[in-house]
C-alpha cells in the first residue's frame, strides 16, 4: 500500500465528518431549513437524468467495493 501524507487522510476524515454532521443536523429538528440526504436525493430523483446519475453513482460505488475491491477472506 502506498504511503501518503497524513494531511490527505485528514481531509477525507474532515469531509466525511462534515457530511455526517450536516445529516445529523438535518435529522435533529434543530433546523427545518436543512434537508436530509434522503430529501436531497428525493429532489434529484424527480428528474430522469438525476435518477440515472444517482443510479450510476450507486453502481460505481458498488462496483468499486464489491467487484474491483473484493477479496475473499481466506485468499492468500
Amino acid at each position: 500500500m502506498a504511503h501518503h501524507p497524513l494531511i490527505g487522510y485528514l481531509v477525507w476524515a474532515l469531509l466525511f465528518g462534515a457530511l455526517f454532521a450536516w445529516e445529523g443536523l438535518a435529522l435533529s429538528h434543530l433546523s427545518n431549513y436543512v434537508p436530509t440526504l434522503s430529501d436531497t436525493f428525493r429532489a434529484i430523483m424527480r428528474y430522469p437524468f438525476g435518477r440515472w446519475a444517482l443510479f450510476a453513482l450507486w453502481l460505481w460505488f458498488g462496483w468499486h467495493i464489491f467487484v474491483r475491491g473484493w477479496h475473499f477472506l481466506l485468499r492468500a
Binding site: F41, F49, F55, A56, L59, W63, R68, G69
Partner: protein, 135 residues
C-alpha cells in the same frame, strides 16, 4: 470501504424513515398537500398496470444509469487515465452483475412491502360481509 458503504446506506435509511414518520422532517401531510406521492395503508392496492409502470420506471432508471456510467468510465479511461486490471471489461460486466443481483432483490422487497401494506389495510378495514337472505 464496505464499512463506508454500509454507513452511508444506513444513514440514508434512517433519514428516509425519520422523514416519513408523522411530523417528521418532511411532514407527510405537508408532502401530500403539495401533491407528492405518498405511501401507507390508506392507498388503493397496486394494480397490474401499476406494477408494469413500476417495472418500466425501474428498468429505465437502471438502463439509463448503466449507460451513463459506462460512458463516463470509457471517457475517463481514454481521456484521463489508462487504468489497469481490465478496467473497461470490469466496468461492463461488474455493473451488469450488480444490476442482475440488485434487481430481483428490489422486486422481491417491493412485492413484500406491498403484500404487508395490503394485509395491514385488510385488517384495519375488513370488507363488509354480504347480508344473509331472509329465510
Amino acid at each position: 470501504m464496505v464499512g463506508g458503504f454500509v454507513i452511508i446506506m444506513v444513514s440514508l435509511a434512517v433519514g428516509l424513515w425519520l422523514s416519513r414518520r408523522p411530523g417528521g422532517t418532511a411532514d407527510h401531510g405537508a408532502r401530500q398537500a403539495r401533491g407528492e406521492r405518498a405511501s401507507g395503508p390508506g392507498l388503493a392496492p397496486v394494480t397490474a398496470a401499476g406494477w408494469r409502470r413500476l417495472a418500466a420506471h425501474v428498468a429505465g432508471t437502471m438502463l439509463g444509469g448503466y449507460l451513463l456510467l459506462v460512458v463516463v468510465v470509457v471517457l475517463y479511461y481514454y481521456l484521463v487515465a489508462r487504468v489497469g486490471g481490465a478496467f473497461i471489461k470490469s466496468a461492463f460486466t461488474g455493473c451488469a452483475l450488480l444490476i442482475g443481483l440488485a434487481a430481483p432483490v428490489f422486486a422481491l422487497a417491493s412485492w413484500l412491502t406491498e403484500l404487508r401494506r395490503a394485509r395491514t389495510t385488510h385488517k384495519a378495514h375488513p370488507p363488509a360481509q354480504q347480508p344473509r337472505p331472509a329465510p
